[in-house]
């Protein structure tokens, strides 16, 4: 097989993986701080995807233009969800949290089915069929834009957590819950803020994903599972780990399809997960806990 085929597939895998990574980043942020596993993560992404599709269909608003507004809407959604619904469950047993979020996921899927029906919907941007050719390398324009936006969004998020006062407060909550309470931080507000940021991440990923895939109401559970695979591979709670995990899974799926059989793409992604769990249970960049 010619070398350019490998190169094309590798680039496509990395770009898709970056969007996967941003999606998983939201899950990682929420778990890393709030210690709640968001089983409605993919379903929240599908809400953002439908927002992008509706805005495009009704007003011809390009998903890339709507990236920040939709992420902001998802932030509010996440904030309200955490403050109003999830917060009372923070101190309850994990199975209660699990059931709450699974129920939320089912409600979202069925609400989307009722509102939009089961048909796949797509965003036909002016660049939907464009590609860039550099020598023998052909890069899908939509994937390139989506990948670049994912890098930008992730960089802003890293900067927020590293340099802003609020970001540092959130990290303080994650590192030492009791200490955060002692120094007078409003932990409930910071938890809601974190959940909002996680929802904004997955919202941004969803908007970019509409450039790459069609959206259906039942797409959510697939991405919830994918986000878990990525986060566990990269390291639960590690933000860089989520991005690296996303790229690794994107590349694995791409090369498994090329070198073996496309039917086995998911099998190889799960194979990576099993290997990581066996030899590095904390994930590639995760911290070992006692």
């Amino acid at each position: 097989m010619p070398f350019d085929v490998y190169l094309n597939v590798a680039v496509a895998g990395v770009l898709t993986g970056l969007v996967y990574g941003l999606m998983a980043l939201g899950l990682s942020v929420i778990f890393g701080v709030v210690r709640v596993v968001n089983f409605a993560h993919g379903e929240m992404m599908s809400i953002a995807m439908y927002l992008a599709v509706v805005l495009f269909s009704a007003f011809h608003l390009d998903p890339l233009v709507m990236l920040v507004p939709i992420a902001a809407v998802m932030f509010v959604f996440g904030y309200v969800l955490q403050a109003g619904l999830i917060n009372p469950f923070i101190t309850r047993p994990e199975h209660s949290q699990f059931l709450l979020l699974v129920a939320l996921a089912i409600i979202i899927v069925n609400a989307l089915l009722i509102i939009f029906g089961p048909d796949a919907r797509t965003v036909q941007t002016s660049y939907a069929y464009d590609s860039f050719q550099v020598g023998r390398l052909i890069v899908d324009a939509s994937k390139l834009y989506a990948g670049a936006a994912a890098i930008l969004f992730a960089a802003l998020l890293f900067a927020f957590f590293r340099y802003s006062l609020v970001g540092k407060s959130v990290r303080a909550c994650a590192d030492n819950y009791t200490g955060a309470l002692v120094v007078g931080l409003n932990v409930n507000r910071l938890y809601a803020l974190t959940f909002g940021i996680g929802a904004a991440c997955v919202g941004a990923a969803g908007v970019m994903m509409t450039l790459i895939v069609d959206v259906t109401p039942i797409i959510g559970p697939t991405y919830t599972l994918l986000a878990f695979v990525i986060v566990i591979t990269g390291g639960l709670g590690s933000m860089p780990g989520a991005l690296i995990g996303g790229v690794l899974i994107g590349l694995t799926e791409a090369f498994a399809g090329l070198l073996f059989t496309p039917s086995a793409k998911s099998m190889f992604a799960f194979g990576i997960l099993v290997v990581v769990l066996l030899f590095r249970p904390q994930g590639i960049l995760g911290k070992r806990t006692a």
């Binding site: 898709t16 048909d119 796949a120 069929y129 590609s131 899908d140 109401p217 799926e253």
Partner: protein, 415 residues
């Protein structure tokens, strides 16, 4: 003594009364059941389709065939059908449980399910319960190879589709005076796609095709992205693509062909997806050109015209296609059998279906008749091509209404 004896014989004890009521209840429970079966009310038909899930597009398209059927069946002098709708959710397990549920809810005949895996599950339930199943769309040969007594299929098996597809391809190649030398075979890895893949190895050598298969690529029908699959096919540099697809993946493949700047000489599809309305509407000019070798309708038959008109009235802008036609014909078979059986008794219905001989039908071929296995062995494929948002029939010659356009116009040149 005498009085006592007379008294005993005349008096009904509480226990005797209860037993009598029980017996009467039992008799009443059975008798109306038989009476109801002989009544001339509408036949209760359970229509199981994938109305949600990844096959929802096809399932909902089939539903259009149900929606337009009633007035046409009435115009043919056939009895009313009471339709009970069911959703398989594109899942084999759900199909099985919904079929059982429908039968317990009173369905007297089942129709479905536009997917071989789901239909296989429904066929097992129908046979176990002795309720006739008329398959609208499902091509896996095993379904009618089980020796079932209550399962009937007015749709070609994978082997029949393949045989006709190769025959129709050669007819098209002859008309255009050209043929691909190599193809890459891409197919979904569900029950239908796998059956077709197995069948190709068995059937193709018998047809002395002008091309060889350079590579075979199987993929998940629920795939979100087929860029790798198309890149792999492109790397083999074939003249044409041979495909067994569904709707979602047909659109994904087309998009990737455009993005990866590759226009093969021809797209030769032997399954659904490429001719469907959602494909035509979503892709616009990019949808033109693919050839589908599929079970289709004969546009020259009188009943086809009626069906086209009914669909145009109910769903303006939607082209009549396989999904509508074979779902409608399944209902036609049910109504025709019910009329002849004069009863909703499952055995009588099954016997009537087995004796079906409908010549005024829609699909290509001489008509609808079932062999000993419950298969309509006379139904034929057609070669069709997407042309400006419409579908034209290229072969067989008896059903043809257009000449083929060859080769595929470059995707890059379609502004």
């Amino acid at each position: 003594m005498t009085r006592k004896s007379r008294s005993n014989s005349a008096r009904v004890s509480r226990r005797t009364f209860s037993a009598g009521i029980g017996a009467a209840g039992l008799a009443a429970g059975i008798a109306p059941f038989n009476v109801a079966r002989a009544q001339s009310g509408p036949l209760k038909v359970g229509v199981l389709l994938p109305r949600s899930g990844f096959e929802a597009g096809i399932g909902q398209d089939c539903q259009r065939g149900v929606d337009i059927a009633a007035p046409i069946l009435k115009s043919l002098g056939l009895p009313d059908l009471a339709i009970i709708n069911g959703d398989t959710e594109s899942s084999v397990e759900t199909a099985r449980s919904r079929a059982a549920q429908m039968i317990s809810d009173g369905a007297q005949l089942l129709i479905g399910a536009s997917d071989s895996g789901q239909t296989t599950a429904i066929a097992q339930v129908a046979e176990q319960n002795g309720v006739p199943l008329v398959i609208n769309i499902a091509a896996a040969p095993e379904i009618t190879d089980q020796g079932y007594k209550f399962v009937f299929r007015n749709f070609p098996t994978a082997k029949m589709i393949l045989g006709d597809a190769f025959e129709n391809q050669k007819q098209v190649f002859n008309i255009v005076g050209a043929a691909p030398k190599t193809v890459v075979f891409m197919h979904v890895n569900d029950t239908f796609g796998t059956a077709m893949s197995k069948g190709i190895n068995f059937v193709m050598p018998k047809f002395n095709m002008p091309y060889t298969i350079a590579d075979e690529i199987a993929y998940d029908p629920a795939a979100r992205d087929l860029s790798v699959e198309v890149a792999k096919a492109k790397a083999s540099n074939p003249d044409a693509l041979l495909l067994v697809s569904r709707l979602n993946d047909a659109m994904l493949i087309t998009r990737e062909l455009v993005k990866q700047r590759w226009t093969p000489q021809a797209i030769l599809s032997m399954g659904p997806g490429w001719y469907e309305d959602q494909y035509l509407k979503t892709l616009g000019k990019l949808s033109d050109g693919p050839l589908s070798f599929v079970p289709w309708y004969d546009p020259n038959k009188p009943l086809s015209k009626k069906l086209e008109d009914a669909l145009a009235a109910a769903y303006p802008g939607i082209n009549l296609n396989t999904n509508h036609v074979f779902t409608f014909e399944a209902l036609l078979v049910a109504a025709d059998a019910y009329k002849r059986a004069g009863s909703a008794d499952p055995k009588a219905l099954a016997d009537a279906i087995r004796a079906t001989n409908i010549t005024d039908n829609v699909s290509i071929g001489p008509g609808i008749q079932f062999d000993a296995t419950g298969q309509n062995a006379k139904v034929k494929n057609g070669a069709v091509q997407n042309r400006g948002g419409k579908i034209v029939v290229l072969s067989p010659p008896s059903a043809s209404n257009a000449k083929p356009e060859w080769p595929l116009t470059s995707y890059q040149s379609r502004a």
